[in-house]
Symmetry: C2
Subunit: 258 residues, 2 copies
Amino acid sequence: MRSRKFAPSNRLEIIGIDGLPEIREGNDLTRLFLEAVEAKKLKLEDGDAIVFTSKVIAKSEDRVVDLSGVRVSGEAERIAKETEKDPRIVQLVLDEAKAVVRLMKNHVIVETKHGFVCANAGVDESNVEEGRAVLLPKDPQKSARLLKREIEERSGKAISVLISDSFGRAFRDGVMGICIGVSGIPALVDRRGEEDRFGKIAQITKEAIADEICAAVNLVMGEFREGVPIAIVRGLKLERCESDIQELLFSKEEDLFR
Amino acid sequence: MRSRKFAPSNRLEIIGIDGLPEIREGNDLTRLFLEAVEAKKLKLEDGDAIVFTSKVIAKSEDRVVDLSGVRVSGEAERIAKETEKDPRIVQLVLDEAKAVVRLMKNHVIVETKHGFVCANAGVDESNVEEGRAVLLPKDPQKSARLLKREIEERSGKAISVLISDSFGRAFRDGVMGICIGVSGIPALVDRRGEEDRFGKIAQITKEAIADEICAAVNLVMGEFREGVPIAIVRGLKLERCESDIQELLFSKEEDLFR
């Protein structure tokens, strides 16, 4: 048995924050979040990572669309037929998209204007009134930065903010929590140059830490019911820095699967 | 503000288990794990999900290969040149593969015999002695089942076992924890038929819960140093059942990106 020099045992806590009202345009999410934390007799701590679902961000930013007002183009009609989807939803997806990546029954896989490759551009009819749909936040990276700054100012704690959504993947069934905006910690941890336990130098490993955090909180949020729109991850030992979700995205040229 | 009926606030704890010796073929992982838990003055609880990295499983099953003994085929030589990789590693990758999916510099993306689409068939030279490489476990689904049964028998607790690895993804940079074997909980939670908070019925959402759990534990394991080869996730509220990692895998015909 060889001697080992590795980090001591590590504990992480994930705390779901529920009890928020239905979010409407213009709501002060920072205040609602801090009130919900207090109502649970919790206190924020330095280093907490706070994850908001994209849906509460989108609702607070009025990214909710009334389907009856959507004007459907010929292209949307055609794709709607091919995919057996609601033409109004397809129109919203196309409006949010930079490029169509793949089409299949019930799915339009696109690259969104933000650069995310996902089904239906994240346009979602669940957890909103009948006849309406929620888009992804317009600029979730900016939303994350603003929320981080506001929460830090009002709480006095050094925290990070992530915005999560649930995306399907290539190769594997099922959706998974994924990050669409991050502020205060790295999006990607680059481990190149670190030594392994045999003293060899890592060559290529980068870890998508922001996506792992958003996947982790899905375990307390549940994907569908949206009863827990915010979660705190406590115990992460990450450097504090500004990063950008763009660091996680392959361009089309780098991407083997587009 | 409408009335809401959703699950109460939820807390999850992730506990990294370190302090295990370097694992060798034939080691009794169940005993080493239970001793490490006891050394930390922890007690297993009913409902705990226990995640093992694939590497400790592979090492205990003698899936470590001495590169000097690898005989390189013409095909491996050719792919090694194209990808600028060690021909002996390429040979191991081909031996583990059912099909080559994509080739690029330093990467051979394959479908493994298990059905996992990943870089280099999971063959890894980190955290093993110089001149050796670790393969994925031969049948990680079976390994998960065996470990679950043994841990339950010896601890008297109703637990689940998952085996994790770190895979790259399409569309996004960085690796992420992912599940390659699961026993005792669902691999995939099917939410079709559940109501959202507006009483509408979910149509299509399936959540890759086993992958989310393995992504979450990567936050305490670290991807590279392998100081924390096992982690306990405590507080999950999942039905107890037998499942199979195959439920998470798209066949080539279902997969839009192969």
